[in-house]
């Protein structure tokens, strides 16, 4: 009996040690990731070497076998900074490079050299199910080459049977403004290919300022292997878009929904701004835009809103990826230190209930 518990504990620790989230911590030249590439319940292995990426399949015989290798190029940047220790502290506080009005003094005791050598891969990589067949595909993203196309290139290698990948890309997608790494991309309409989502602001600031948020959604143009130039969906709203709590299917209709966070009553004076910041209960409005299945679109105005009160001086997180009552609908969790409020989704009313439990 004891040995059974021992094995369970051992498996638990091994799972933690081998989980992909741990690999980022190891500062070695060769790094590994364990991930189930072919959805067979077994963790396969990816080894990242200084110049290539190796894919290993883990089979039922408990053996890893090399199935594919992708090569990549690296680039090196070196620069040095010379700074006065006193100035550095000031710049650290400001959070930006605000040089002292007074020139740097050449005092050896206070003057530091800081040399940074960074070696980056020229490409960036995605491992994800791009075509919706439950097998993880490989995407290599190339930076724009200004002399030729000026487009990001996404070289997509679809996974075949038994964790095999083609030598040539199955598909090449080009994009001018952002890559799948730098922008927001999500398969909104479940067609097996991610849409591009651009978030733009007018008068960008925190909740206290009069921030206007514009959400543009572009569908892929399959004829050109690019996203369309004109957005297919555009939403204007006041408030701020937070990525971590967005494009989550709240109402269980199979399509992701949008959340914008806003403070409706903006301060008009310094006194009011300070008072609002120091007040323990400041009203914040959560605006939800539920996807309209029939129109294949989002509404221009919020589908519903939810008012909450927060303390601005404390950390705040708004989470929608919860189902507290196991009804399949997402519930709202507002968390501040030593305090959280849960709001269940009411499917009949199509919004969150007014009452909450803590």
């Amino acid at each position: 009996m004891r040995s059974k518990y021992f094995i369970i504990i051992l498996i638990f620790f091994l799972t933690i040690l081998l989980s992909p989230s741990q690999v980022n911590a190891a500062p070695t030249e060769t790094q590994e990731m364990n991930i189930d590439l072919n959805n067979d319940g077994l963790l396969d292995k990816i080894i990242v070497l200084p110049n290539n990426i190796q894919f290993y399949r883990y089979d039922k015989k408990r053996e890893f076998s090399l199935v594919h290798e992708f090569k990549y190029d690296k680039t090196r940047f070196s620069s040095f900074n010379q700074y006065n220790v006193i100035n550095q502290l000031s710049e650290t506080i400001y959070g930006q490079d605000v040089s002292s009005a007074f020139a740097l003094e050449n005092q050896p005791n206070y003057t530091r050299y800081n040399v940074a050598n960074s070696i980056f891969s020229k490409n960036k990589f995605i491992i994800a199910d791009v075509n919706g067949d439950n097998l993880l595909d490989f995407v290599m993203i190339k930076e724009p080459n200004i002399e030729t196309s000026g487009y990001y290139q996404h070289l997509i290698y679809y996974q075949g049977t038994n964790v095999t990948f083609p030598d040539k890309p199955s598909k090449i997608l080009e994009e001018r403004r952002s890559s799948w790494i730098t922008g927001y991309y999500y398969d909104i309409n479940n067609d097996g290919f991610p849409e591009k989502i651009e978030i733009r602001y007018k008068h960008r600031g925190a909740l206290l300022s009069d921030t206007k948020c514009i959400i543009n959604i572009y569908f892929a143009d399959s004829t050109k292997n690019r996203y369309r130039d004109v957005p297919d969906v555009r939403i204007y709203s006041s408030g701020v878009f937070y990525a971590e709590s967005n494009f989550i299917d709240i109402n269980k209709d199979g399509f992701p929904d949008i959340l914008i966070v806003d403070m409706p009553k903006k301060p008009k004076s310094i006194e009011e701004a300070i008072t609002k910041m120091l007040d323990k209960d400041t009203e914040v409005v959560l605006k939800f835009y539920l996807y309209k299945k029939d129109a294949k679109n989002y509404p221009a105005a919020p589908s519903f809103i939810k008012k909450i009160n927060v303390n601005f001086l404390q950390d705040l997180s708004i989470s929608l990826n919860n189902d507290f009552n196991y009804d399949g609908y997402k519930d709202l969790l507002v968390t501040q230190p030593n305090h959280s409020e849960k709001y269940l989704f009411d499917p009949e009313k199509g919004q969150f209930k007014e009452t909450n439990y803590k």
Binding site: F80, T92, I93, V115, N117, W180, A206
Partner: protein
């Protein structure tokens, strides 16, 4: 989300806590206006003739302008063009008689300008570099000029040090205008390799999970941090490197020998907890008790709302005394807290007695003081004061505290000016007296100069004058332009095309 709100809040407060107020008396000053035909990037002064009358030299990447000093605060200017792109410009002493030249660094060359028979500079002379010279590392874009000339071996001649990959190229000036190159390998570095894994897509229900989608890009960061300092007090500048992590750090001391070479590094492990390369901490090595051994001063920042009751960031300063040349106490002898005042040097020798004072300022605004915060925000004025701790050398502890009998007030000029706002308070002897002066740049156009005097054993305020600048300043240098023992202000205006010298 929380970070954005907090940083906005903190920035709002910090920016609001800085600048001007009425001062006490107005100083009689002489101002000289100099015009440049381009926007200056680099400014220095140079005593071409060694007669104490320094020329002002300004440059951009392609032009050098010399303002030659005549009598009665007058200057005569001329501009020459450089065919090599200038990335830094320094003056360099070439004789014990104080004669100086202008040395320029381009991307991969070093060249200097010395005056011809009529006293003007014209053509550059290139300094010969060995064929196997390692590649010069580029400076970061955000630094304007930087110092690459320093007297490494205390022979009163300027030497040159250029950061290269894995070390320094140093050129010792062995005799006037003869530069002998050496390469110093600095092997100490902090190396981190990352995959930079994040979930993909970045939004949606699986945004926090990486088991069904992730993106990554491999990267290796190699960092080196080092500086020149006379570690063993033999008059020669040594090299000190620092490497470390959050739990401990290590100093590497490369002592300079008398033959222009450096010894292999001697490593000292320092088991302190708060230092991290590129972190918010700073570390200084200073001989606090004047016993011949450098001691450690470690400074960390506590942010507002993070464990302190101040609305302003707080500095935590700790001192660790040396027991011998390479051994330090593991525990701090003193720990001080001070509200953070931008660009204030908290460790300075105010009375030039070879003992450093620790400057502290109590927090003028505490968390929860909503009314005082609103009052300050409305009046745009904040008042703070300073004091200093003086060391008791026999006990190796800072015990004696003296507060300056003066309030320093700061007022924010305009909300719109915040972005270009630059604040300064500095201790430096510019009046030629026995003690440091306190120079406060109250806003971009006003300096408050406070002089100190000694009363019994303490420093007290002597007098305070205000100096109105002729323009909003972009850069200010303090130099003794006429070698009379008093320093002058050299002010570059915000257009970068006008220079002013201000003589007190």
């Amino acid at each position: 989300m929380d970070k954005q709100i907090k940083y906005f809040f903190i920035l709002f407060l910090i920016l609001y806590f800085l600048t001007t107020s009425p001062a006490i008396a107005s100083e009689s000053i002489t101002t000289v206006d100099l015009t440049l035909p381009y926007k200056a990037l680099y400014i220095t002064s140079c005593d071409f003739n060694g007669n104490g009358k320094k020329s002002i030299v300004a440059a951009d990447e392609n032009n050098i302008t010399v303002f030659q000093q005549n009598n009665n605060f007058s200057f005569k200017s001329y501009t020459i063009r450089s065919k090599d792109k200038i990335v830094a410009l320094n003056s360099c002493k070439i004789r014990e008689t104080n004669e100086e030249i202008i040395v320029c660094r381009s991307v991969d060359k070093l060249f200097y300008y010395s005056p011809n028979l009529v006293g003007k500079i014209n053509e550059p002379t290139y300094i010969n570099l060995p064929k196997d010279t390692p590649k010069f590392i580029e400076k970061q874009k955000n630094i304007k000029n930087y110092s690459f000339v320093l007297d490494l071996n205390n022979d009163a001649l300027g030497d040159i040090a250029i950061p290269c990959e894995n070390g320094f190229l140093v050129l010792f000036q062995t005799e006037s205008l003869v530069f002998k190159p050496f390469f110093i390998l600095i092997s100490d570095s902090s190396r981190d390799t990352y995959l930079n894994i994040q979930s993909w897509p970045k939004i949606g229900e699986n945004a926090q999970k990486i088991d069904r989608g992730l993106f990554f890009f491999p990267a290796t960061n190699i960092r080196q941090e080092y500086w020149f300092q006379d570690y063993n007090k033999d008059g020669l500048l040594d090299i000190i490197s620092i490497t470390g992590n959050s739990s401990s750090y290590q100093l590497g001391v490369y002592l300079q020998k008398h033959n222009h070479e450096f010894q292999p590094p001697k490593y000292i492990k320092i088991p302190l907890v708060n230092y991290e390369s590129n972190s918010f901490a700073s570390l200084l090595l200073l001989d606090l008790d004047n016993d011949g051994y450098l001691d450690i001063v470690e400074t960390n920042i506590e942010y507002p709302l993070k464990g302190n009751s101040s609305f302003l960031p707080v500095l935590v300063i700790k001192t660790f005394f040396a027991n011998s040349l390479f051994e330090f106490n593991n525990l701090p002898s003193n720990a001080f807290k001070s509200v953070f005042i931008p660009w204030l040097n908290n460790i300075t020798d105010l009375d030039y007695d070879n003992n450093y004072e620790i400057i502290v300022s109590p927090s003028p605004l505490k968390l929860g003081a909503k009314e005082s915060l609103i009052k300050f925000a409305t009046n745009r004025e904040i008042t703070f004061n300073f004091g200093y701790y003086h060391i008791d050398k026999s006990k190796k502890r800072y015990i004696q505290y003296s507060a300056f009998d003066k309030d320093f007030s700061i007022t924010l000029p305009n909300f719109a000016d915040m972005e270009n706002f630059k604040q300064l308070i500095r201790f430096e002897n510019i009046t030629g007296g026995k003690f440091s002066d306190i120079i406060l740049l109250k806003n971009s156009s006003l300096i408050e100069l406070t002089t100190l005097k000694k009363l019994k054993n303490s420093l007290v305020i002597d007098k305070c004058v205000k100096i109105y600048l002729p323009c909003p300043a972009f850069e200010i240098q303090i130099i003794d332009i006429d070698s009379d023992g008093k320093k002058e202000f050299l002010v570059l205006d915000q257009s970068g095309r006008r220079l002013y010298t201000i003589h007190l």
